[in-house]
Amino acid sequence: MREGVSAAGPKAVVTRAVVIRALLVAGLLVALPLLVLWATGGLGDIARWAAEGQHDAQNALARAIRSLRAGEAGALLVLLGMAFAYGVFHAAGPGHGKVLIGGYGVARRVRLLPLMTLALVSSLAQATVAVVLVYAGIAVFDWTRERVVGAAEDVMLPASHAAVALIGLWLAYRGFRGLVRGMAVRGHVDDHGHEHGHGHVHDEHCTHRHAPSVEEVAAVTSPREALALVAGIAARPCTGALFLLVLTWQMGIGAAGVAGAYAMGLGTAAITVAVAGLSVWAREGMLSVLSGHRVARALPVLELAAGLTIAVLSVMLMVGSV
């Protein structure tokens, strides 16, 4: 391939640019609808398939736990494998973790690798929260299983939805601010020709630069924002992981349960990392069809729309979960 490019010269470079552009546009056509449908549960068949897969994995997991307790060889490996599968299927159904990661990936011009890392980290943090909750609850405070699961579902679940809703509102607010600033700058230019924009561009002869640049709008993600994202997802431990942890603690095979909870987390991460990839593909596809200065205008709109979607969905979920 390389030789072909050098031999054909500029023409091949152009062709490659066209191919890349086409791939990005495909992101808009393929990834975006898929993402929206998936995140909102529109794919009834996938949700059903995921539930059936989870059912099988759940039964196999129970059998693996029984064999482990009976001291059968290789049972731990089966347990870990089934916990991983459980995580994959459980996450393949719609859920707020994907809504948040996907929505964030669309809203902010965050790069692919950091977003995927964020997805992985939040899944593992979710497993950690489950472990801490169960061991603090049962081992330290002597809670029953019902109380532990109750705490997760009645307190932590609404709290997690609220946190995610706030992140959505924050994104929407940023988008709104960007939009207003963009309009103010454009209005200014229209009225007064060569006047300064809001003082941050000091080149009188360059009015077309008065709108915020792509780089300015797509400000680098702060560590605090990343932390909020992880916390929003991790604050709600998976009930399946809680069941597994309590069960194995009661049976005296707690270490296997902790390992299983992290295997579930990795399974969940497999899906959320894929969603992160899809969301970046969809967003770049959307932006690739716009010319340079329009991208700067589109970014705040995307941010506003994705932020509002996250916020509205989370509030709905919160109302449903209280």
Partner: protein
């Protein structure tokens, strides 16, 4: 604006319906019991819990400590009724629709028992039909579903029809028609207006995604 509102309504519906993951899976056996005059008077419900939740339940209660998945009669007696302490507003995840429409009032559960078969908890209870009635060729629809989708139900085999008046009746289980259910959801959203509560309408939609049994009886 209509588009935005409809999109939001669709998001709201799908969020409430599908965002909850099932954590418990129950295969449900149903038996419609008839009285001597041919009226449907009660439904016996058999819940077969999944392996995992069964294990959680048994372990929680300290039952089956040797792990052989066999309970002694004393242990069975202790397990019995573990899932029968219902809140007053819990509908038992069983819905009967007379002629496919009208909801049929059901009484509280009674005559319950529980046992373990192949590691799975089998829990049985009976619900009386408050006003027994004769079923005609317009089907009596039986649905099992959890509106919150915390429990995923499926119907086990074909429901049984028992009692002296069951002759001439037949029953069949239908898979949910997902595309039809989606269409109905769309149609409902078209009619959705701002003063209607999407939440309130939700259970009817959820039922469209559940398996159901339809029972008819020949006239005469």
């Amino acid at each position: 604006m209509t588009l935005i509102r409809q999109t939001l309504a669709a998001l709201a519906l799908s969020a409430t319906s599908a965002a909850a993951h099932p954590h418990i899976f129950i295969d449900t056996g149903l038996e419609v019991i008839f009285d001597a005059t041919g009226r449907a008077e009660a439904v016996r419900v058999v819940w077969v819990y999944d392996d995992f939740y069964s294990l959680v339940m048994l372990q929680d209660r300290g039952l089956d400590p040797d792990g052989d998945a066999k309970l002694t009669p004393e242990e069975e007696a202790r397990l019995s009724g573990f899932d029968m302490d219902w809140d007053t507003d819990f509908a038992g995840d069983l819905y009967l629709l007379d002629k496919g429409v009208g909801p049929v009032a059901l009484g509280r559960p009674h005559d319950w028992s529980a046992r373990v078969e192949q590691g799975r908890i089998v829990s049985i209870h009976v619900r009386d039909i408050v006003t027994p009635f004769a079923v005609t060729d317009a089907p009596l629809v039986l649905q099992v579903y959890d509106p919150t989708y915390y429990v995923a139900y499926s119907i086990l085999g074909t429901p049984l029809l028992s009692g002296p008046g069951a002759a001439g009746c037949s029953v069949q289980v239908f898979e949910p028609d997902l595309s039809a259910a989606q269409e109905e959801l769309q149609a409902m959203l078209q009619e959705y207006t701002a003063d209607q509560s999407v939440e309130q309408d939700f259970p009817a939609v959820g039922a469209n995604f559940a398996e159901e049994a339809r029972m008819t009886c020949a006239k005469g």
